[in-house]
């Protein structure tokens, strides 16, 4: 018993010794920590990079439970140096573990953006699952907008980038890791969503949500400064294409949606079939909800060409129509009219062909043709590896079905 007590005492003394001399195991005091929730990277005048950190300042008082934020800009020759300056200016330790959004200004996209993203991909201070986006105009300005719903602009943007089940999946989001994986492949082709700020006039002093032109609920309303009637609407439905880290093209909203249908599960996403596509006389505009989608993309090499076969199958239902009379098919999920199916098929087929054209014209291999060739037709890979995009001959088949 006596020996046991001595052993316990020795262990306790040792434990106290460790705790005393460990300097809290190197942990940084929470009061001296700046929790950075988003970063905006702009082109600087003096230095190549200007990094604006959106810092969340938690305030737990009885009067105000909202989280306030502050923006601090640091400049530097490298991203790391600019972030270090943020720390120097504030006296806070920049805690980047909660940084979920990195916004890059479109000005920087004319040069290789990997110079920016490499820092975030390699450091352990930032999660490389962090979302990336390109802003139209100044990235700093986007972070400075504050929302009536959420004071932190980056939170509002994340809502439109990351869609929960049940929401429309019409934004082509990307993160640091996936961008780098695509960049370091031989094709070196990648993408990121473009964040646009649209000013809309509203008469009410406090609006909750406003929708963009097509009204598909993928935008977030924000108050611009202190002007009560001017609202900023963020949208992320357009996509920037990158080749070797340099922006070479853009996908329109329709092309982005078509790409999503080809590569992701877009259950519950709506697809508008407009007037000119519909052959029926009365119903002019339709809104179709995709219930199930699958796509098979394959590359087949021939003598002088690469056949890009795309086979899409969609199961959907009619959600709305601009009809003069109430149509029971909307509420009862009855079979889709043949004309609507045909219009949808034609529109989507055209979008996919235009998507392929954009990919070829911007020299950006968003269909991973190079990788498909390398993995599944390695013998032909060497023959096509330098000109695979120009050798592509697309063949798109779209099958639309609904309730039978």
């Amino acid at each position: 018993m006596k020996t046991l007590k001595t052993k316990i005492l020795i262990v306790l003394i040792f434990a106290v010794f460790i705790f005393f001399f460990s300097n809290d195991f190197g942990l940084v005091d929470i009061d001296k920590t700046a929790i950075i929730v988003a970063l905006a990277v702009d082109k600087g005048e003096e230095y190549p990079f200007e990094v604006t950190a959106e810092i969340a300042v938690p305030e737990a008082t009885d009067q105000n439970s909202e989280t306030k934020n502050a923006q601090v800009t640091g400049k530097g020759n490298t991203i790391g140096e600019a972030i270090k300056e943020v720390s120097d200016l504030t006296g806070w330790f920049p805690q980047l573990n909660f940084c979920n959004l990195i916004m890059i200004s479109d000005e920087l996209a004319s040069d290789n953006v990997i110079k920016i993203l490499n820092y975030f991909a390699v450091t352990f201070r930032v999660q490389d699952s962090c979302l990336i986006a390109m802003s139209e105009g100044s990235a700093k300005k986007v972070l400075e907008d504050s929302s009536p719903l959420d004071d932190i602009a980056s939170f509002a943007i994340q809502k439109i980038l990351l869609k929960q089940p049940g929401f429309d999946k019409n934004v082509l989001d990307n993160n640091v890791k996936d961008f780098c994986v695509s960049y370091y492949n031989p094709a070196s082709s990648s993408y990121m969503p473009i964040i646009t700020r649209n000013t809309v006039e509203e008469s009410s002093s406090r609006a909750t949500n406003s929708s963009s032109e097509s009204g598909q609920g993928d935008s977030s309303t924000n108050k611009s400064g202190n002007s009560g009637d001017k609202k900023i609407v963020f949208s992320a439905r357009k996509t920037a294409l990158f080749k070797n880290g340099i922006k070479t093209g853009e996908l329109s909203e329709e092309q982005t949606l078509a790409y999503k249908i080809l590569n992701y599960n877009v259950k519950s996403t709506v697809y508008p079939v407009k007037k000119e596509n519909v052959l029926v006389s009365e119903n002019q505009n339709f809104l179709i909800t995709i219930l199930k989608n699958s796509a098979k993309i394959s590359v087949k090499p021939y003598q002088n060409q690469l056949n890009l076969d795309i086979n899409v199958k969609i199961f959907c239902k009619l959600s709305d129509s601009s009809s003069n009379r109430i149509d029971s098919s909307v509420s009862k999920n009855t079979p889709l009219p043949q004309e609507v199916k045909e219009a949808f098929r034609k529109k989507l087929t055209d979008e996919i062909y235009s998507l392929i054209d954009t990919s070829v014209n911007s020299n950006c291999d968003i269909f991973n043709i190079e990788r498909r060739l390398y993995k599944f037709h390695h013998k032909d890979y060497l023959r096509f590896k330098d000109n695979y995009l120009s050798a592509v001959v697309p063949n798109v088949t779209v099958n639309i079905s609904g309730q039978k």
Binding site: I18, G26, V122, R125, N175, C180, V181, K375, F376
Partner: protein, 360 residues
């Protein structure tokens, strides 16, 4: 018949609990830097090498009840046995360095915001010292408990990672050529060589029916889980695999749920870290046992104290030379590990068996 220190069940669980955890840190990126999408083939080669060694050891040690020290004494006398054990001691000590250094770096870089002082890593050496003071029996008891931790951690990690892996990334198989596959295999020898542990179990466990099959099966379950990990790892990171240093932390964080709940995958990671604590202490554990034998030390604290202090100071000194240490160990000493951990044990057992057959 005297009571043995281990049971067959415990040896099986030993392989399940401790052979895979130390290979989930820097090993995947190390192999990927050489073998690229064929990293799993390089791993498979090492797994087959160790599996074959265990298989042959099981066959060659079938009719003996002697432990490795007695076998060596029979073969080359007491002095010869002590010289061989001294060489093994050096090998085990060098083998222990990379896993401990990577564990230290892992904790330093991923679990702390700033760089803490070396003292934060002291608890590892305290646990290691305590483990070294115990007899071989302790490994059996730890295996009985910690296999749950390893299996749970691994399954959770895989469940979170597999949906995000594109398995076609490992295609086409063998495209990088046999030279690169063999290079990857050679560079990773430091992390393998688990067959040698079985050498120390010979004569120390109660034999039962079909024990060989059970041991071999449990080894291969653990070994194939490493191969699976490599495939999933490359499936997720493909072209940037070589620079994802700590795959254990990297692999599971792309699940959508983590965006809203935070890094709950750290529960699985911590479970694996607990098992890994014992896994990386194993070479030092055997070092202290070998030291006891070489110098006939009876006091159970002396050898563990020497071994742990030596390891601690070596790690402190090498903190500034991690890159060159790793380079030397994996590129030069790998061959020595291959000889000592896979070839020599088989030669010892083969000669011992032949001599026994001649005598009988």
């Amino acid at each position: 018949m005297k009571e043995k220190q281990l049971r067959v069940r415990q040896i099986c669980l030993f392989f399940l609990a401790f052979t895979c955890t130390n290979k989930l840190f820097t090993l995947p990126s190390t192999i990927a830097s050489v073998s690229f999408n064929d990293l799993w083939l390089s791993t498979l080669l090492n797994v087959l090498l160790d599996g074959t060694s265990i298989f042959l050891m099981l066959i060659l040690s079938k009719n003996t009840d002697k432990n490795i020290y007695e076998i060596l004494e029979d073969l080359m006398g007491k002095i010869g046995a002590k010289i061989v054990c001294a060489l093994y001691l050096i090998c085990f000590f060098i083998k222990s360095l990379i896993p401990i250094i990577e564990q230290k770096e892992y904790i330093d870089l991923t679990l702390y915001i700033s760089s803490p002082s070396i003292i934060y890593f002291l608890p590892f050496f305290i646990v290691c010292f305590y483990l070294c003071t115990k007899k071989l029996r302790v490994l059996g008891r730890l295996s009985d408990v910690l296999f749950i931790s390893t299996i749970t951690g691994f399954i959770v990690l895989m469940a979170l990672s597999i949906p995000h892996a594109d398995f076609s990334n490992v295609l086409p198989v063998g495209v990088n050529g046999i030279k690169k596959i063999l290079s990857g295999s050679f560079l990773s020898l430091t992390w393998f060589g688990d067959a040698v542990y079985f050498l120390f179990f010979i004569g120390n466990y109660n034999r039962t029916k079909k024990d060989g099959k059970k041991i071999l099966l449990s080894y291969f379950i653990s070994a194939l889980s490493i191969v699976l990990f490599m495939i999933v790892f490359y499936g997720i990171f493909s072209s940037i695999s070589y620079r994802q240093k700590f795959s254990l932390t990297e692999i599971s964080k792309y699940t959508t749920i983590i965006n809203s709940t935070g890094r709950f995958d750290y529960f699985a990671i911590l479970l694996l870290l607990v098992s890994n604590l014992i896994s990386i202490s194993l070479p030092l554990f055997f070092c202290s046992k070998l030291l006891n034998y070489i110098f006939s030390i009876k006091n159970r604290y002396v050898s563990p104290l020497i071994v742990t202090f030596l390891a601690f100071f070596t790690i402190v000194i090498l903190t500034q030379h991690v890159f060159s240490t790793q380079k030397i160990i994996i590129s030069v000493i790998g061959l020595i590990f291959l000889i000592f951990f896979n070839v020599l044990p088989l030669i010892f057992l083969l000669v011992f068996k032949r001599r026994n057959n001649e005598n009988s």
